[in-house]
Symmetry: C2
Subunit: 209 residues, 2 copies
DNA sequence: GTCTATACGAGGATAGAC
DNA sequence: GTCTATCCTCGTATAGAC
């Protein structure tokens, strides 16, 4: 679970503002949510908000920072990969993709953060940069190196590491988006869980046999 | 190319409003664009806009209709599949995914419509419904039936049609999103073209050999 | 169809008292 | 830190003249 302000005062006004903003931005988007609306939910006047954040945009900026920091820790550093793969079979390594997926979608705050980033990425260059670097580029670089190592040690079929990374990860990105949408209307998402599982199984079989 | 009002008066004010709205919504999102801003670009007063659309929301609604109609024609009807596959090899059929992708991203209006739908889908139930039905459900149903037919006739390996549809299409959805993002900053997208091509090639090889 | 004029609530943000 | 009061701009929308 994501702690917004780990080990600080538990429910400061600043945190309440941030939590409320996350709630509202993740449903209506930054532009359609007003400072009035946020502070009304928190139970303070608009002016009081400006003691905690200089502008409305600074709230969004804080949210982006939060997501960036979480995302940075989502995967182990690339230089630890060799050690990880020394004690983990390719099957187990690949199966972790499902755990990562579950860990994200099970965390309500993280789901909201993902939604905000997805909504704002078209309008906001910061969001776009985070999505591109921390998500797309970061994940593919990590996986590419993992597959390269596995191929080099002859633990999987000798296919192109970059293509393997893509074929493994990109379907999961799409499912993630679908998940974020379904959850808005409180629709059932067990099919998506199964889909991720089946995809990883299919993929694992293709590269190991 | 998408014609907004096929064979009507070529550049009516209504069309100019619609085109401008598409331009602006696709960059800043519906909520962050004002009627003032739209009409300023068109060269009329705010009040004049209301002779063409009852409300600002009606502009968005028109945009959704437009996208829905385009999307409906993006794929042949499912009951034509048998005839199509009778004259087309699995290889050629699958290669069409690349043509479809190219046709979409080459059309500037279509790219903007996609962006608008992607931005608004979280906030707007209509957008969400279109994305789910016309895009996700529609495409997968089409492909699933195609693969079912190909499997039944022994033209590809006997794998699960639904999984094949997913493994074929979902990576392309992700690339599409990435494309929409890259193009905002006018970045190069030839890598993505190659990625789609390579994916379809990889996939085709897996199911036919 | 477009314009001017106008309504009027909502928008972000600040000053200054407590 | 929070409040009241206030600023001024922007937001959608309408009425009525041309």
């Amino acid at each position: 679970m994501v702690e917004l302000f780990p080990s600080k005062e538990p429910t400061s006004t600043k945190q309440k503002i941030l939590e409320t903003a996350i709630d509202l931005f993740s449903v209506n988007g930054y532009s359609a949510v007003s400072v009035r609306e946020i502070t009304k939910h928190v139970g303070i006047k608009e002016s009081a908000m400006y003691n905690h954040f200089k502008t409305k945009d600074e709230i969004l900026d804080t949210i982006f920072d939060l997501f960036r920091n979480i995302q940075k820790r989502a995967l182990p550093p690339i230089d630890k990969l060799e050690a990880i793969l020394a004690v983990q079979s390719p099957q187990d390594f690949l199966a972790q993709g499902f755990e990562n997926f579950r860990r994200t979608v099970e965390d309500p705050v993280l789901v909201k953060l993902w939604r905000i980033l997805n909504i704002e990425q078209y309008r906001d260059a910061r969001a776009r940069q985070i999505i591109r670097q921390e998500v797309y580029v970061g994940t593919i670089a990590f996986l590419e190196e993992a597959f390269r190592l596995m191929v080099d040690k002859g633990r999987i079929k000798p296919l192109e590491p970059r293509m393997l990374a893509f074929e493994y990860q990109y379907p999961i990105f799409s499912i993630m988006t679908e998940y974020l949408l379904l959850k808005i209307d409180d629709q059932d998402t067990t099919d998506l869980d199964e889909l991720v599982k089946a995809h990883i199984q299919t993929f694992t079989q293709q590269v190991t046999t």
